[in-house]
Amino acid sequence: MRHYLDLVSISAREHKRQNKMTRLCIVLAVFLVTVIFGMADMEMRSQMLQAVRSDGSWHAGFVANEEQGAILAARPEVKRIARYGALNYYRQDGYQIEGEETLICGFDPELLEMFPAVELLEGELPLEKQQAAVSETVRRRLGVQVGDTLTLTAPGGEALSYEITGITRDTALLAEKDALGISLSMEGFEALPREDAKAQEELYYVTFRSFTNIQRTIREIQGQLGLGEDEVRQNAKVLMLLFQSRDSYLMQFYFVAVVLAVLVLVAGVLMITASMNSSIARRTEFFGMLRCLGATRGQVIRFVRKEALGWCRQAIPLGVLGGSVVVWGLCALLRFLSPGLFEGLPVFGVSYMAILAGILVGLITVLLAARAPARRAAQVSPLTAVSGNGGSVQPAGRAANTKIFKVDVALGIHYASGSKRNFFLVSGSFAFSIILFLAFSTAVDFMHHALTPLQPWAPDVYAYSKEQKNLIPRGIREKIKDCPGVKRVFGRGFGELAVTTEEGEETLILLSYDEQQFAWAGDSLIEGKLEDVIAGKGILLAFREESILAGRDRLSVRREGNAQELLVCGILENIPYYSEAGGAAGVAICSEELFSRLTGETGYGVLDIQMEGNAGDQQVEEVRRRVEEACGEGISFSDKRIGNREARGAGYSMALFLYGFLAVIGLISFFNMVNSIAMSVSARMREYGAMRAIGMGTDQLIRMVLGETLTYTVFGVLFGCVAGIPLNRKLFTSLVTSRWGEAWRLPVGELVMMAGIVLAAVCLAVLGPARQIRRMTVVDTIGAE
């Protein structure tokens, strides 16, 4: 030992267990902060990836002419600018290729950098006036290749010829509508004959440089170019993720994010402070002794700082690393679940924000919390310390109440509540776990509302008759089922019946279900028997509030002069189709056999096909070929795979991160409770030894620890609920009620879950110290120190 600060390592060896627990607590707190911030960061990145993929990376779009475009391009904030124009978006303006309405767009090549979804599969983009790139659908349906010539007929009848220079990947919209689409150079696009002036409008898509105040810049540009509100577009999702949106709903969203971030930081600070406070008595005594031996206040502070930094040196990197590993795991899981969508997400992504937050919370809290015993020690007069009285009995503020509780429990309660500061810190850290849990659970409610989940019955591809007739033969199901890559095939027939009600004759929409759809319908059956409907005995009615058909056992229906009675066998809460049903009195569901009897039709109006996860375009093409072969010309196709993939991806990523948040909070709460109690017990082992010497049994000591644990827990849960429930309400109102109108309800499920975690933590919290107490040798314990 060459320097007085060498005592730090010697003291650390002596208090190995206590120091280990202090370090564990710092690790947990840093881990919590790093994981939550890291996950939030990664979720933002994944949402950004999806937003860019579906909507593009542009920030704002301006309807402007060439001159205004030049002014725009000259602005210093503008990083990238590209022109874009679209025609026949709704496929009704008369621009046709081989008699079919075609969506036309023109853009500068720079636009591709802003729209990664527009992918060139083959060839090049058109640069000349007479060149065009066509979509996959055009290539497939018209059998054209790069180098061929294509003729577009304008609404006025002019025929325009284009040389095909490239093939672009179908966008989600083109695939879903099975629409033809061609891309022209901007020059070619401007040369198209148009019928109305508004169609002349072109958009300048702009990406601004980093650190630009986008909202202010947009306002300036609007003023400079004299543009109205409807002449400016904003990429809401991307701007939101850049924290650059001023949308009032998003402002509430940011408010929630800030509240959650602050809560996480406070929880981390509380956890560390509470743990360090539990050894404050021992440390105060030790620092008091140092002061008596002649250490100046400054020397004690330096000692404290070195000791604290020693803990941080090991604990903070561990917490940061642990947190980062969890985030990596989640990112890897996301890439595994949805490889196409999240390949841009880094597996070993480093979230500097999370690491910085973890380090700051760890370092600053530890340094500040560690000073408290030193400050207290500095206040002890050296005389008191030298006389030996200073350290023999740690003064208590008031006596334990042995009248209401038995002495062991009374002492346990007193240990928990005796020191206001300690009580506040420990039960406060417990409470914060509950508050965090309740606060973050509102984000899950938000997710359930914001993301329309991909229902089990959602098709990847569907075929439908163009004229809403049941043209698809039922037998096709078997043929398609055999196609490679097909998972499920199911179809529905549509028909209309006249139903007699008190108000006269109304329309009843009738759908035929096959076995698969009946199986899914079983989950939403409110009353009645599904078997009777499957057997063709009657119909199911879709529930609708204040329906004129409600409460009826039988319906009198009529079709083409044939009247008959239909038995209502059950009510379904909801159905995926015809949810509004237009002006009809209701929607009824029946078996295929009954449907044929009632309508005389034996086909499907819609055939839904779900593909296997690994099915590719070729398999979909084969399905399409077989359907077309069986049904002929009157059938249209819709490929929803891109949209489904995006919806599924958004769902996966948000669910993974939000449930991840909750799991981490639950886990950290659990370990924090266990560790806090273990530390408290460990700090009192000497007193426990004395009590054992006086005659206290181990069971009584364990009851005492249980009393202490339950006191912290009961008050922690109480504080947590008192603060957490109103916060839950506030956040729910901001996130959900303000947008979807759903009223807040007491989060019973979350409370029950948290109660389970707390109970498990209490059991484990007592178990560890109980083992320690049982192993304790009285003589060694009272003789220690």
Partner: protein, 227 residues
Amino acid sequence: MEIVRVENLCKTYGKGEARVEALKQVSFSMNRGEFGAVVGESGSGKSTLLNCMGGLDKADGGKVFLNGRDLFAMGEKERTVFRRQNVGFIFQSFHLIPELTVEQNMIFPLLLDYKKPDQERVEELLEVLGLENRRRHLPGQLSGGQQQRVAIGRALMARPALVLADEPTGNLDSRNSQDVLELLCQASRRYQQTVLMITHNMNLTAVADRVFRVTDGMLCELGGERS
């Protein structure tokens, strides 16, 4: 009447070169109401003897009979209950419970048995100890001498047959030491409790009935005022 009998008590600490024989075949007995003092160098084995006699520590060999019951033949739980009812401990550093008042500390062994204390006995002891006005005080509000008096009161409250005091005056000045000694004498004379006290101060052995010396783990009796 024999209260405590120690037979061939052995206790060893450590292994190999660090092996220390703290007690070597120690045997002796004490009768009801006897006041014994144990003297010896630091590390001679005095505290080990007291801890083994009180059942705080287990011996490697030998037996301790208290009121005719073999302490080491009992299970842990039974020994704990037997100890708190039959042995009173007084420590050099008092070991009071800071969260309990003077009165609560004194009745603590009874509370551990979930028994209601005899209020007359409490009043009597508080008076004998001179703590009537301090009954509601917490240990942190007392002087060292007062704290040790509380510890003595706690040791005597359950009327144990044997009171073991490990250097009870070690942390006290001469005036307080004298007070403590008088109280222990009273326990022996007035309440007929057997008291065995470790001390470094030979002057304090003057009041003892018997004086034992422990040297390198071996016990010999030096005699005493009454012997």
